[in-house]
Symmetry: C2
Subunit: 265 residues, 2 copies
């Protein structure tokens, strides 16, 4: 090994060691770090992220690996540049699984899935769940996308209200409003802008939380609370395992006129 390479190697070892000793507890018989989940230093250190830089990074990353990867990489890529280890060792490419509601299944919006994963990399439940709650309620209520990237593929993309956190519903609402098909390049661009929009708001929420000024701007809708007063956790018909939602009548389209027992009002 040449002297320069050896120094490089040792610097790498030193750098990695600095990052890894914080998360390593035990050394196994094979000499590898046998860290148990419980001993990992968690959550990882947060440093204020520029919402615009994160949104632009998310937009670019969307076209490399889809919505979930785009959202996760938007936040974590900024932290990797600003903080280095341990972010530099995270295999962000794994987050490509969440594209189009996970491998095209149309379930959870991948931008929301990736943003929530990034939030829980720097927060435990006590502080992380309120951020996710605000982000998810905002996604259901706002006309999105509400962020236009600096070098877009299309100059104008119509905004629509999803009333949901699901990929299928969000995209269908947009297709109906815009007139574009779900397989169109315009729809892909729309989802890239939505990913950037979600990342911008996530960064703002994370920064606000770090600065001690996090607030809830999008509470659970009153209509949903009314449904959950019977169907939620402590209700008389507790058969819905959800503490929050944007809309129940999105799917239960006939529930108001065909409710099996009289509604409270």
């Amino acid at each position: 090994m040449a002297e320069r390479d050896r120094r490089h190697f040792l610097k790498t070892v030193g750098g990695v060691t600095l990052g890894m000793t914080a998360v390593s507890g035990l050394v196994g018989l094979n000499g590898f770090s046998q860290t148990k989940a419980e001993s990992v230093a968690f959550p990882w250190p947060y440093k204020k992220v520029d919402p615009i830089a994160a949104a632009e990074r998310a937009y670019q990353a969307y076209y490399q690996g889809g919505c979930m990867y785009g959202a996760f990489e938007g936040i974590v890529g900024e932290l990797r540049e600003a903080v280095g280890a341990p972010y530099s060792s995270f295999p962000t490419a794994m987050m490509k699984y969440g594209a189009a509601g996970v491998s095209g299944w149309g379930t959870l919006c991948g931008a929301l899935n990736g943003a929530a994963a990034a939030i829980f990399l720097v927060h435990e439940g006590k502080t992380g769940n309120p951020i996710i709650n605000e982000l998810y309620a905002w996604h259901g209520a706002e006309a999105l996308p509400n962020y236009k990237p600096r070098t877009p593929k299309f100059d104008k993309i119509v905004a629509s209200v999803a009333d949901s956190q699901l990929c299928h519903i969000s995209v269908t609402r947009w297709c109906e409003k815009s007139g574009f098909k779900s397989g169109s390049k315009e729809r892909a661009e729309r989802c890239a802008w939505v990913t950037a929009s979600v990342v911008k708001y996530t960064a703002e929420l994370l920064n606000n939380q770090a600065a001690g000024r996090f607030t809830v701007a999008h509470p659970v809708p009153v209509a949903v609370k009314e449904c959950l007063s019977c169907h939620g956790k402590d209700g008389s018909v507790a058969n819905v395992h959800a503490a929050a939602h944007s809309s129940c009548t999105n799917c239960h389209t006939d529930v108001l006129k065909n409710h099996p027992v009289p509604l409270k009002k």
Copy 2:
């Protein structure tokens, strides 16, 4: 530093180096590894996982951090023990975000979210997406849970068919069949068994793929294919951004009798 500690330290450095040099590309000015996402060695090496051991680990992990954490830790915990680095540096606790369809929002089943994340840690899309497709279709079609942990909290848990990949629908179907409330300890135990069941099947699929004998046992239902023939990507009314699903009429309960244009059959 005592000689024994120093040897220990060097072994750790050596172990981590073996794992990290494969994923490190650049060394930043601060001496930390400034790996770019693109330069991370990905996917991570897979070693056959015992489906029963993974299921048991998932069951225990469910009660530590919920369904998504349980599923992810079930697979990745086994790989951490068998392989060591780079798994030993993964902050698995972040996966707690997916509990109850992400922070209680009832969207994507956390066990399915965690399993998909684990699958994409060891597979790229070309081989990973077919595994997710089979797992998700299986989850929608099978009566679950179908795995009983060795030391359960309850002796018997009723199985039910979710017909969906969503937490809310899956839990509601089970509440209606079992008669238990969504906030009950029996429901939590049911979800712990479902997490173990999902992990057992995921491990079997990963092992089959590694052995070159992966097969699709649960294709997209014919009824869903019929809906997507018009509403899917290349259809005349391409407004549904989903390539697969267990059921359209789960939510669209009135679509067959009130379809706006005559159905093909």
